[in-house]
Amino acid sequence: MQHETSHVNDAHHYDDHAAGVHVVPLQVLAGIFVALLALTYVTVAVTSIDLGSFNLWIALGVATVKGALVVLYFMHLRYDSPFNSIVFITAFVFLFLFLGIVIMDSVAYQPAVYELTPTP
């Protein structure tokens, strides 16, 4: 009866799950692992080269690629119900909303802030 339920409410995402969970082949997992190690090496390596402010963005970029690999394959999100992806992405949307506005503001009022004064 739940199968019928699945069809009428949007829980039908869960059907593919129901139809039999997706088993990721071991080679894929291993491959991802190697890729992750490689990327880690890359970030470390890149920092020694001076690219000005780009270093930060590259580091974050690589981290994001690594994160994506973990999420998509280790966490099966790629094969999971789309709604779970929505949930996960929402988290980042609101994270950036929060960071974005707060940084925007703090940068704007920095001029009024005293020179940093450490513990007296």
Partner: protein, 578 residues
Amino acid sequence: MATTTQTWEPTQSPAAAPDNYLTHTRGITSWIFTLDHKRVGIMFLVSVTICLGLGAFFALTIRTELTHPGPTILTDTTAQLVSKLTLSNTQLTPQQMYNRAFTLHGAVMIFLFVIPAIPSALGNFVLPLQLGAKDVAFPRLNLFSYHLFVIGTVFFLLTLMLGGVDTGWTFYAPYSVETSTAVATAVVGAFILGFGSIFTGLNFLVTVHTLRRRGLTWFQMPLMVWSLYATAIIQLLATPVLAITLVLLLVERLFGVGIFDPALGGDPVLFQHFFWFYSHPAVYIMILPAMGIVSEVISVHSHKHIFGYRMIAYSSIAIALLGFLVWGHHMFVSGQSALAGMVFSALTFSVAIPSAIKVFNWVATMYKGSIAFTTPMIYAMIFIFLFGLGGLTGLFLGALATDIHVHDTSFVVAHFHYQMAGGVLIAFICGVHHWWPKMTGKMYNETAGRIVALVILVGFNLTYFPQFIIGSHGMPRRYFDYEGMLDQIPHLTLYQIISTVGGYMFVGGLIAIPIYLLHSLKKGRPAPDNPWGAATMEWQTSSPPPWDNFTKLPAVTDPYDFDHLKYDETTQGYVTTP
């Protein structure tokens, strides 16, 4: 899906003496460790009411103190009393007691009452029933939420015993970092309560997604469910930020990590951003479920299909999302940049719109209905009255120029009491009356209910309307004494007296409610399954519902189409006519 394969107690056939969730198992532990969402709901209901009483105690302390310029009841003698009652040996000054009073009042009311009140108490009871489900998705987690609530409450009581906390419920740094009061326990308490709230939201979200009765589509869900769903979204997205904010405040206070404390190179305005990123959405955690209740009650008790169902449903979601974009309107004079001020002001008005839509829809629903002046209906109308007024005053606060003037005056105090006491508290009471027959299987005394409702309406406006006036004249909030402004603000003392008298009237009314409700448990006439003629699923099961909610799979219908319901003299309730 309410019915499944296993274990229907034989007694549960409608014929036999009904075994309901109250009588199903006995003994105190069968409550404390129950996995039944209905019982968890009831436990929350009792707990938050007691907390409400606690908050009210402080409220009255505040009001009585403000009746007259100069120390009124908070004097050195009362201070001695307090120092005896608490574990803190130091003798407080009157103003110190006042500062603790409004802080505890605010913190208790917010964290222990309004936020859990409707979702955790009524929502817990109603949501699965309205979905035709047997329980929430994670009953254990649900119970855990309640236990977290209790633990959090204990921490607040601990705070009380340690002599209270005096930061204001907003915990602004750096004051909260340097004050010598029991900030730590209060913060830990709020942190724990926060997680309770998160888990409730998580539970509801998943329940709505996966436990809807088969055939129940999204747009056949009652609006209460929609609003609880929207609430869950906020609880999940905003509350974790409160949690981390409190953690940081704590480590800042204990070790000095230099994030908020300017003395260590921190940034106090950053704290306000963190705090309000949660605490503005939090006000919609409070009001959305209230709106859900009102949507139900208005339609049912006017025996009239809700007007603009989809608009109301969408506006709930809209409020939930837009609510995240406006937190800076609490910081217009905090030293945040003018740019941010402008953006936040503009966005603030955008949240006013969905609320406006709801209000208009509710009123339109009554058009050509058959309106019964039952207690819930009266409260629903009071809600529209008070929430409308309170919300509209939000426009003064949202507009930059005027907020500069009224910020942190009792104008703001009046605004949010119209919203939280007039909006949420009233809706809460409204819901309690509406579902009381379902929860307890008893009908309460209608006349008592109606009279009390009117007393509350009058008392409420007497309490808070004067605070708008003195506020816009410049009476700051969190002021223990107002001798200094007597020459500046006309009739200040008079307004304060009116406010206090109203406050007592209000409390008087509210205290009466638990009394006649409890009385109905003994003397009240047994409630029919569907006393109001409502079409949502919770009214299709018996009152009170059986352990597994439904003995018979409830029919999926348009939740606001009442034409198939006819009043039946014998049961004095409504029955479906084919």
